[in-house]
């Protein structure tokens, strides 16, 4: 099959043909073993992640082949709306394996499931992960996307490493042999270097430069320019904060792979790490605040040409704010994004609580949040437990709401409420409904 691109032609067929990734191979092997033995592991999903071109999908295919399993594969070229997934994956996940031949469900590229075009897909997949009778393997380049959280929480994560230059060279050499190419070792090194650990890209380039049975350094130098790698966030930040000229800072932010909104969040959290002099700090924040204002204007007016000023201000504006030294403190992940993710459920409970009270108190949620909840907190956390317990009986608070209101005292108050109810029983039927919330606590 001469006409096949080499990346297909030379795809690994066996597990040991996949370069490196020994740790991942071991983990996948053990996990599959558990399934095969009929005692599925606690996490019924496996989420393989790592940079492109390191063999994630190939490895799964190789495993399937070697263990003689069935394979159902869905990837980003398929619509992965809830309805489609229900029809295909839902059915497959519920089907007992025929003749003990296990079926692996491969959901390739789950980071490509589009929240809009593939509406409901992730939520459905997450629910399948709870009840599937067949192993589900997923792959992703970036598993940390917020939208993937439901999958991440229900899966075992397996990391794939970027390949070293030497590993890529070895791989290229083996292909040269199969293709009977005379390959200049230096040329292969250059191809590997310019593709930074992406084996697939390197193979493509190899094919592109191979001519008349040989691969010459000279041609590689001319043709293989290296794929445009956008700046990852760490490089963006260091190029930005150390830039002395406006244009450098501007280049750092415009060429970042991070979108401007999250980039802004990163800069926001890292300014105080790098600027210690209050003068510098203020100038930098002033620029960033103006950038944020400009961004909101771009959004409000739909005039996206304002983005240029957003970049000017969060790039050169922040970089040129420094008169003093740049601190050596290390860059860090934006605290706020993490904290928001961690507190999401707590915030949801607060919303529900506000909605519940707004209805009863004939007012808006906003008023409840600012005018009522603070006093409820006082009663539940500082006041007499009895008053709190009585209120707990008066309103259908869920256990989460009680936890939010009372903090450490939640179980004490729940127990007290239960006792009070016992002493003076009335309105039994009504109580049953309310009990559910409390019971959870007492269990």
């Amino acid at each position: 099959m001469k006409e096949l691109p080499w990346i297909v032609k030379h795809r690994p067929k066996r597990v040991d043909e996949v370069v490196d990734q020994e740790e991942a191979k071991r983990e996948i092997g053990l996990w599959l073993e558990a399934w095969l033995k009929g005692s599925p592991p606690r996490e019924k999903g496996l989420l393989l992640y790592g940079p492109p071109g390191v063999g994630k999908t190939s490895l799964v295919e190789a495993f399937v082949k070697e263990r003689d399993l069935e394979l159902l594969e869905l990837n980003a070229s398929d619509s992965r709306r809830r309805e489609e997934l229900e029809r295909i994956v839902g059915v497959a996940a519920a089907r007992r394996p025929l003749r003990k031949r296990l079926m692996v469900i491969l959901m390739d590229e789950v980071d490509g499931i589009d929240p809009r075009a593939d509406e409901g897909g992730i939520e459905f997949l997450a629910s399948v992960l709870e009840r599937t009778v067949n192993p589900i393997i997923m792959t992703a380049n970036d598993p940390w996307k917020e939208s993937l959280r439901p999958l991440r929480e229900r899966s075992k994560l397996v990391a794939f490493r970027e390949l070293t230059e030497a590993q890529v060279v070895t791989l290229l050499q083996s292909i040269c042999e199969k293709e009977r190419l005379k390959c200049d070792k230096e040329a292969l090194g250059l191809i590997a270097r310019r593709n930074r650990g992406d084996a697939r890209a390197a193979i493509n380039d190899l094919q592109a430069v191979a001519e008349r049975g040989e691969v010459r350094l000279e041609l590689v130098e001319k043709l293989v320019k290296g794929r445009e790698k956008s700046l990852d966030i760490w490089r963006t930040l260091s190029e930005l904060f150390y830039a002395e000229e406006g244009w450098r800072a501007k280049r750092a932010v415009t060429q970042s792979e991070e979108d401007y909104e999250s980039l802004m969040a990163w800069i926001n959290d890292n300014i105080p790490k790098k600027y210690k002099d209050p003068e510098d700090l203020y100038r930098a924040y002033d620029a960033l605040a103006r950038a944020s204002l400009m961004l909101s204007r771009a959004k409000a007016t739909g005039e996206w040409s304002f983005l240029r000023y957003v970049f000017d201000l969060m790039g050169p504006g922040v970089a040129l704010a420094k008169k003093g030294e740049v601190s050596k403190e290390r860059f860090s992940f934006p605290e706020r994004i993490r904290a928001m993710a961690e507190t999401k459920s707590m915030r949801e409970v607060r919303e529900e609580l506000a909605a519940l009270l707004a209805k009863r108190l004939l007012t808006s949620k906003a008023t409840v949040k600012t005018e009522v909840l603070p006093y409820l907190f006082v009663i539940f956390r500082q006041g007499s437990p009895e008053a709190a317990a009585k209120l707990t009986l008066g309103y259908p608070f869920s256990s989460e709401m009680l936890k939010l209101l009372a903090g450490a005292r939640a179980s004490e108050i729940a127990a007290l409420a239960e006792k009070l109810r016992g002493t003076k029983g009335e309105g039994r039927r009504e109580e049953k409904r309310e009990r559910r919330g409390l019971d959870k606590f007492l269990m």
Binding site: I271, L362, S364, E371, Y375, V378, I379, Q382, K424
Partner: protein, 324 residues
Amino acid sequence: MSVKELLWVEKYRPRTLSEVVNQREVVERLKLFVKEKNIPHLLFAGPPGTGKTTVAHALARELYGENYIQHLLELNASDERGIDTIRNKVKEFARSRTAPGIPFKIVLLDESDNMTADAQQALRRLMELYTASTRFILIANYPSKIIDPLQSRCAFFRFVALSREDVVGRLKYIAELENVEYEEEALDAIYDISEGDMRKAINVLQAAASLGKVTVNSVYRAVGLARPREVREMLELALAGKFEEARKALRKLMIEYGLSGEDVVKQMHREVFSSELKIPEEHRVLIADYIGEIHFRITEGSDDDIQLSALLAWLSLLGKRARR
């Protein structure tokens, strides 16, 4: 006595017009409508906590009886997103059956002064469209924010701020029924804090009572506890040049307490003018002005965390310059 307890603002809410002890003028006029079993569109305007929503419910109860809630659509302009939601809800509600004997239903629109002028225009047409089968009661803090064409379609009722006597009287009444011990001055203190807002006054009373006997001290304790301490700390940290710690406090306020950027700005603003923050008078003015600027940017839609960080950075610069 039941072991179940309600929030006192709910428990002691007047159910009938006669139970409403203040706003006598308003109540008298409304009773006439009840007698005629007919009302025009109404506009209730006045400060928060003066009983506007309560009166609207009481009115509906007197018209339709205990199950009045079937004939009342309650919307809150600051919760409902945009006029379209309102339009759809009203449309559907207008189709539902009316009560026997009363050929109209009531749409209660709270915080209607929070609607944009455009939305109010749309509301006006909605009122005209369904005028046969519905009456609107618009509730607003500031009548001047209601556009003229709407005002002129409604009978106007002004709710006045409650007097000290009204509030203290009510608090005493509740305290006695609830067997709460109290000092007289404590109730005065509550009135001062509440600024004539009955809802707030009752909430403070209940919170203070949960701490034991209601004294001036416990009132201030309750109020102090209800207000996040982090706001002042944040200000002080920033002014002391401890930017990162100040920002931690900020994040705690926004994430743990769930305050919006606007809430934080408002609370900072309050602290800036409190005597407990020891800073030179001139700084207060400067800070108030800059807070104004930041608040303005936040309302324009820019990121509140970034804007507040900028504010904290500015404060720590101010602090540094002052220390020189």
